[in-house]
Subunit: 275 residues, 2 copies
């Protein structure tokens, strides 16, 4: 692991790091914020997965998480959203390829060699975080935005007990039921939709996966609300499964970091209470 940069911010250090990933076969960059802490102490870890087109940097620059994270003593890890660079396949759209992994392990050509973001986020990067940072891996939480909200929900649902809490801003709740998901999952996973269900929060819940509770904030002026995000599908799945869902519909807010930053502190407090 190499240190790309460190900056003191609030009562802690915002770092950017890179490493050669064996899962993706590329260099990968990620951001970690570590609050000040006593020598030898280990802090809980909150994973933030970003949305389409983002790198590790978007939430780091615009997410406004450091004030609350330093107060609450939370390590914040922000991975990239896909492998990148020469030799990594891409798509002409913003909604597939580089910056748009949908956090799957791709099985289809040309994606399957590099697009292994499920294994990267679920296994490889946690091992690196545990080894390199003062992280208490018994106390982890996960959240994300849009495609990253999808990532957070599905990773939490597939790994019962690993995360004390899960939340999302404007998540893609069902790739089986939106055009983004239709395009990305058919490309990455292939045409057999039964294989998509492990990458669909609503389907995972229907198939029996459980988490203790879920917090979602969603702007009512989000351009993607009706066509792509469809939080009512998550509400229906959670209701049937008796999973307590706090779904806050936020009047006038859109899909941007102006929305996310507004409710960032609420989400970090939600996680801190459960960590």
């Amino acid at each position: 692991m190499e240190t790309v940069s460190t900056n003191r911010s609030y009562a802690g250090t915002q770092g950017v790091y890179s490493h050669a990933s064996s899962e993706t076969g590329t260099g990968m960059t990620f951001a970690v914020y570590v609050p000040d802490h006593p020598e030898g102490a280990k802090l809980p870890v909150v994973w933030y997965l970003s949305g389409l087109t983002c790198t590790h940097a978007n939430v780091m620059e615009k997410g406004e998480y450091r004030r609350a994270a330093s107060e609450l003593g939370l390590i914040i890890v922000a991975p990239d959203t896909s492998p990148r660079g020469e030799g990594v396949p891409d798509d002409s759209g913003y909604d597939m390829g580089q910056g748009a992994s949908f956090y799957v392990d791709a099985t289809e050509a040309p994606w399957s060699d590099h697009f292994r973001m499920r294994s990267y986020i679920e296994r490889e990067l946690p091992d690196l975080i545990a080894a390199q940072f003062p992280a208490d891996m018994e106390r982890q939480a996960i959240f994300g935005h849009s495609m990253g909200g999808h990532g957070a929900l599905t990773i939490a649902l597939r790994n019962p007990g690993r995360f004390k809490s899960v939340s999302a801003f404007a998540p893609v709740v069902s790739p089986l039921n939106c055009l983004w998901g239709e395009k990305a999952l058919s490309g990455y996973i292939g045409g057999d939709k039964s294989a998509w269900r492990q990458y669909d929060a609503c389907a995972l819940i229907e198939d029996g996966a459980r988490v203790a509770d879920i917090l979602v904030d969603q702007g009512t002026s989000d351009n993607f609300l009706d066509e792509q995000l469809k939080p009512h599908l998550l509400a229906e799945a959670c209701a049937k499964a008796d999973i307590p869902l706090t779904l806050n519909m936020r009047q006038g807010y859109d899909h941007s970091y102006y929305f996310i930053s507004t409710f960032m502190e609420d989400h970090l407090r939600w996680h801190a209470q459960r960590l």
Copy 2:
């Protein structure tokens, strides 16, 4: 004036606007955050001037001012740092030309036609803000970062009574005594250093200009501290002039928005107390 974008954020609206400036002879873009307020109410205005290389967008995206501004009921105006575009002169360095006006009215060729940022910030843009936003122009404050800290200090000192308060993050306190100032002011204003004194906070104070008090935050790990910023010169000038200066040297912080955002709330509270 045209609206470029508006986004709801915290309890207010972050807008970006553009207009044709008669001072600069170019289009100019600026950001205004307006907290929610009762119909017909007018809110105090805090001006934020940005540093070298920045546009209106840097502080808007990374400055983390909206939480405190909405709580305190402060309009935040963030202008661009220079005229830009085709036909506007530039320099190959980052420290002169587009993005680097030093908030002067240039008198020298090729700059004097467009580089009229002093008059733009002191006269033209305030008139536009007063006309287009719910702004109480009897309650104004000003602050900024680096070159913009220089702008804030010199504009406050040259306009006694206009601003209830002034503060800065890592300001250039004396262009007469640093390489950035030497290059920019000799280019914009010419070789007669007596003409530079109106653009030098320390010289303005020596020449009799006064403000009620000044707040400065400065990181000790700022790469520009010793060669360019030299806050001790401001401390000496303020001490001689009996201007109360709160100079916070912040251990380990650098020149970036990771530093600025950390102390943004402190500065907004400083201004709110005086507005």
